[in-house]
Subunit: 258 residues, 2 copies
């Protein structure tokens, strides 16, 4: 379904390749992430370099109960209990000599415009070399349940504005864009979400291509995983992850940043 | 230094092999854990089986800020922010279809006798198939700083009593015993700790052999890691881990339980 989206070039963003494309069927659980992320000859990879500053941004899925008073990099409590913590632990182990600084500034409930409101404090000030963003499920969900009047066009415009602003400050920042995901038939997520929610996924991919960002196909990862073990094993409510689901996300993320 | 300890057989405990033995030099950080744990032909391994109930027990290193109100298995908050959480995430991902139940009941400050005091509630009630214990640094440390009058003989006797009690309740439980460790020249840990502290490490190995437990040589893992990257990268104070150190421990643990 992603094949129809044409990447638009931004000449200043040429150092990362194209996003991951193509579907895959996995046959065993440990290979799900591999199968779901490795297809696509032009799969974007980001290579960890010495002194990289890595920032995870997003909503509750990224937040994962982090200690918001703690400003230290690489800190257990400051990184929460989710995929950002798990990915950080792996990076700090695999790249021990590289003096990485890893931060998580996800905040529960956030939509794109709320990232924008706190961007000076929670992104620009941190000066990331690698910026990973997962945002969008609340842009849909809060609209769906009548708490927000944003549309898909607002999501797209807000996301572009946020990235343009980021690239003005850091022209060479390496971007990772996570696909918003929703696992159907688990508590909060029902047939009524679709196909409208899919537009948010497609838009995130479209933007990843447009900005030459690496793209993490979380929806595909959860879909594949849910073919093998019950969806409720991976997500508590269709939106938030269990620990197994957080690990699935971290593994997908680490396929792209290594 | 471990080679002189002779394992004593307990006939009821024959299903796990001998503990990991032998020293190793690692040449790169990701291979440290591998090098530090794989030597020894009779390396004990525990194979994860469907419906296994896995319990992590110990002191603050295991506790790692876990939510003690949360009694759910496999729960992000209940598992803390340390090696138990990281190991659990990996097991739940690698063995997704096996319906594992993973608990962390470590409590900060605990010595062996304090595990014993809460064993009915925090072990027997949980009915573990796999029981992982890391205890001993406080048995030494609190004695060293005058807050406790236990000796190495008390540690040994208390540890055996705890395991005998456990095996009476669960004759087939698979035991994992972690080596107490202390990283010299980082804050709390100084030359004054040695060689007295080493006796606690040796005793833990002796007991692991006696009870046919798998043994995780954490001291060797931290020693090897500290040859490559500053000790302070792996531990905050010589006793507690950074996130990188927690990952190092989880990787060592996962070499033995898989």
């Amino acid at each position: 379904m992603f094949g129809k989206i044409k990447p638009m070039d931004k000449s200043r963003r040429t150092f990362i390749g194209h996003s991951l494309m193509g579907a895959a069927l996995a046959v065993s659980i440990p290979s799900i992430v591999s199968a779901a992320t490795k297809r696509g000859a032009a799969a974007a990879k980001i290579k960890i370099e010495p002194n990289d500053v890595i920032l995870f941004q997003g909503d509750s899925i990224t937040d994962a109960g982090r200690d918001k008073e703690n400003q230290a990099p690489n800190n257990n409590r400051a990184l929460g209990n989710g995929y950002a913590f798990l990915a950080a632990a792996d990076l700090l182990h695999q790249h021990a000599a590289k003096q990485l600084s890893i931060f998580n500034k996800g905040i529960s409930g956030n939509k794109v415009h709320q990232l924008d409101e706190r961007w000076d404090e929670d992104c620009i000030r941190i000066k990331p070399n690698i910026l990973s963003i997962l945002i969008g499920v609340n842009d849909y969900w809060h609209m769906f349940n009548g708490k927000y009047d944003g549309t898909i066009q607002v999501y797209r415009d807000d996301y572009r504005k946020l990235l343009d602003r980021t690239l003005t400050a850091f022209p060479h920042v390496k971007l990772v864009i996570g696909e918003p995901f929703a696992v159907n038939n688990v508590k909060a997520v029902t047939d009524a979400w679709f196909p409208a929610f899919d537009e948010y996924r497609h838009t995130a991919l479209e933007i990843a291509n447009e900005y030459k960002a690496a793209f993490i196909p979380y929806q595909r990862v959860f879909n594949e995983a849910s073919k093998h073990v019950s969806p409720a094993y991976w997500t508590t409510d269709g939106v938030h992850t269990t620990l197994a689901g957080a690990k699935l996300m971290a593994e997908a993320w680490l396929r792209v940043v290594k």
